[in-house]
């Protein structure tokens, strides 16, 4: 009898625990107590900070890039250092929230729907952060308070003319991190097979489009590669058509079409770009299967010695360069010239897309308390201190060495006394070739282009472009379809097809987007081109 009772009790307990476990999974995070009212300190800056009476939880978003062999985003050398040297000192519990790099908007939407947004939200793309402001993810910021708690950070924003980017519809929503040398894109390098060029009697990297075509023809003719230009499927909305634009481009055209979020299909420079791609496809430079080739396969093709060029962001360790030399120990690479696309009547001189004059755009969660926001501002100021930043950028912590995702809250790249030093810090190490000098030369080539006024970025709108969220995904899908059809079509049919697809694209929502952008531009709710200021 006793045994049976015990069994019954056990069964009842088990059921109860399982049922409770199911139900507790549906709970949501309790919101913290109301804020502390006046957030300003009597003394501005770190000297005025004091330990919080009650522990404050500061949730920091960190991009999870899905890289293998790394420690957890939320528990590694960085997180421990920050907790020990900042959190413990001010009674702040640091929590690092992983955000999927390839699906930022969905991750934040899920966190918002469960009332679990991190204390602050950050992103590189301005349209995304304006969307968050419009959708109620963010609260407004009192910049006086920010200047009081984080004066180093704030004064830097003022010195770098970033205040124009802090407002949406006259309300302040953002603070902005620094992006050194933003107008030169020197951290991205395209490498070409110098040994192939030398094999076909060419002694330097192509410095015009005619030179490039000659090189491709000779490489194919010599049987070195069947389709040396390779190619990958289109996955990004950014259309690299800066070189094909008129100079100076008109402010209205720029406002309507220059964007990272919607492909500028139907615009003349995009037509020129795709027409060139069509020509290269029909001449056999491009891999006929490029439209079903993803980025990883394209990388593998370069490593396997099937394609002429490949590019990426530089750091002390570049995995694909390591793999390339392991597979091709006698190969010789060179950094491509920025003049390789220049062609009379099509691309008179190189123009490049400068980065934004700021790094991360940061807003504070609408559900964060005053204490949490104060802790976030303190954290941003603390990270900006030179000694702290140096430690964050140069410590080798459990495979996370130089992972900017942990210090992008204040700056986007390592800043040094000279550009030469900054480049040496990110030049790939341990390879048969040393690329530091070529990277420095590449920087000065880019510097020359930027100084000539040929590097500029996209407009930032101080309001949400509603049609973008409505139509962007559809337009992206249509662009990929039209792009591939145009690249692979008979050159004689190109113009007619481009016109037909442009009409369909405009009707599918692009017209609504460009109308809205133009109206905002005319209302003065956008940034201006350097030559229109």
């Amino acid at each position: 009898m006793k045994k049976r009772n015990l069994q019954r009790f056990g069964a009842t307990l088990l059921m109860g625990v399982m049922a409770l476990g199911t139900l507790t999974g549906c709970g949501s995070k309790d919101s913290d107590d109301a804020g502390s009212g006046n957030m300003k300190n009597e003394v501005a800056g770190m000297e005025g900070w004091s330990k919080f009476d009650e522990q404050v939880t500061l949730q920091i978003p960190v991009y999870n890039r899905g890289v293998a062999d790394l420690d957890s985003v939320s528990d590694n050398g960085y997180t421990k250092y920050v907790q020990e040297n900042f959190g413990n000192k001010y009674n702040i519990k640091m929590e690092f929230i992983p955000i999927t790099r390839s699906d930022v908007m969905t991750d934040y939407a899920l966190l918002a729907s469960t009332k679990n947004l991190p204390t602050f939200l950050m992103e590189y793309d301005y349209p995304k952060v304006t969307q968050w402001a419009a959708d109620g993810y963010l609260q407004t910021i009192d910049l006086d308070v920010f200047a009081n708690i984080a004066p180093t950070y704030y004064n830097r924003m003022v010195a770098q003319n970033q205040l124009a980017y802090t407002k949406i519809n006259y309300d302040t929503y953002f603070v902005l991190a620094e992006r050194p040398y933003y107008d030169t894109t020197y951290t991205y390098c395209t490498f070409v097979r110098m040994d192939w060029l030398e094999q076909v009697g060419i002694t330097e990297v192509p410095k015009s489009y005619a030179d490039y075509c000659t090189a491709m023809d000779k490489i194919i003719e010599a049987g070195i590669a069947e389709h040396p230009a390779g190619g990958t499927m289109v996955t990004a909305a950014y259309v690299a058509n800066f070189g094909f634009r008129n100079y100076p481009v008109s402010g209205e055209d720029w406002a309507m079409h220059s964007s990272l979020s919607t492909p500028s299909f139907s615009w003349e420079p995009t037509k020129k770009l795709i027409k060139r791609a069509n020509s290269e496809y029909n001449k056999g430079y491009t891999d006929p299967e490029y439209y079903i080739t993803d980025a990883e396969t394209a990388k593998a093709k370069f490593i396997n010695g099937e394609t002429y060029s490949y590019g990426g962001y530089m750091s002390a360790t570049v995995d694909w360069l390591d793999s390339f030399y392991a597979a091709n120990p006698d190969a010789k690479l060179a950094i491509a010239s920025n003049y390789g696309g220049v062609e009379a009547g099509v691309q008179e001189f190189p123009q490049i897309r400068a980065d934004n004059p700021y790094g991360m755009t940061i807003g504070f969660s609408s559900s964060a308390t005053d204490d949490e926001i104060k802790a976030a501002m303190m954290y941003m100021e603390w990270c900006t201190q030179p000694d702290v930043l140096y430690t964050l950028q140069h410590s080798d912590w459990n495979n996370y060495n130089n992972s900017k995702d942990f210090w992008c809250v204040t700056i986007e790249s390592v800043k040094a006394a000279t550009i030469e030093e900054a480049i040496k810090a990110i030049a790939p190490q341990g390879l048969p070739q040393d690329f530091a000098q070529q990277m420095i030369d590449n920087y000065y080539e880019l510097r020359k282009i930027a100084d000539a006024g040929h590097a500029y970025t996209d407009p930032a709108f101080a309001a949400v472009v509603n049609a973008e969220s409505e139509y962007n995904a559809t337009l992206m899908s249509k662009y990929v379809e039209y792009y591939d059809k145009l690249v692979m079509c008979d050159p004689a049919e190109f113009d007619k097809l481009y016109e037909q697809y442009s009409k369909e694209y405009l009707e599918a929502g692009y017209q609504a987007i460009i109308d809205e952008r133009l109206a905002l531009y005319k209302d003065g709710k956008s940034t201006k081109l350097p030559w229109d200021k």
Binding site: M15, A19, T22, C26, E470, E481
Partner: protein, 315 residues
Amino acid sequence: MAKKKKNIELYAPTTWKKAFQRDWQLYLLILIPLILVIVFNYAAYPGMRMIFYDYKPAKGYDGSEFVGLETIKKVFKDNDFFLALKNSIKYNLLDLALGFPMPIILALILNELRFPRFKKVTQTILYLPHFLSWVIIGSLAYQLFRPSTGIVNIVLKNFGLIKDGIPFLTEPGHWMVTYLLIAVWQGMGWGTIIYLAAITSISGELYEAAMIDGANRWQRIWHITLPGIKSTAVTMLIMNLGRIMGSNFERLESFGNSGVKSEQYQLAIYIYEKGLAGNNFSRATMVGVFQSLVGLLLVIVADKVAKKLGEDGLL
């Protein structure tokens, strides 16, 4: 007399109280799946009111704008929705036409195998594709069927059977056939389980009697095995009809490319592109509810038809 009384007690109508006192452990056991269904299925139902709001997650229902039937009107005015709907129905009907009979045929063939070890190994090999995700299957398919560098085309070319590569996955017509046949390959083995189980419930005496009467193997299949699994097949058909409006994003995305957009564009893609990717959760919910309602309607109609034809039905 005592025996009679006991029988009366056994079949006498019982009460909730008595039933619970007698079998409370069983009721507690059923409580777990019941709670799971209530929490994860029915508890989500209030979320369907999202259709009538311009729903923003951070604002919740109170802060989001009430838009009435606006979302429904937008969806039904959208040509892309009708393209996705047409493609979904077309492909689900083709999936059904090809995929539904295959497990039955395969189960009949497996049932006829007489060497037990061979039968078991064959069954295991046939089940395995079911456990592969669509992402892996899609990736393998591209490796096999690329027009120039796919293994299948290379082999065909080397044997001189073709001059140019067959665009198995890059041209709409070829894509349709490849896409459907790969799904048959993936699902047919797993689908046989239920039919093999149904076949085992058929009395062996029927087969013995038929053999004595001189029925050959084909006649035994036709007159005993098939009628024996008919009610199972009808139930499976009704359940499959409920999925006519369904759409598998993982499968479509794994086989997608720009060349076959006109065929690949089905409801799951529509929901992702026009709903989730643009943070338009109201539209995604609306199309999801539409799919469920039509699916439910089809199940009810199919069930009634089955019952009129003398079958047991599902509901």
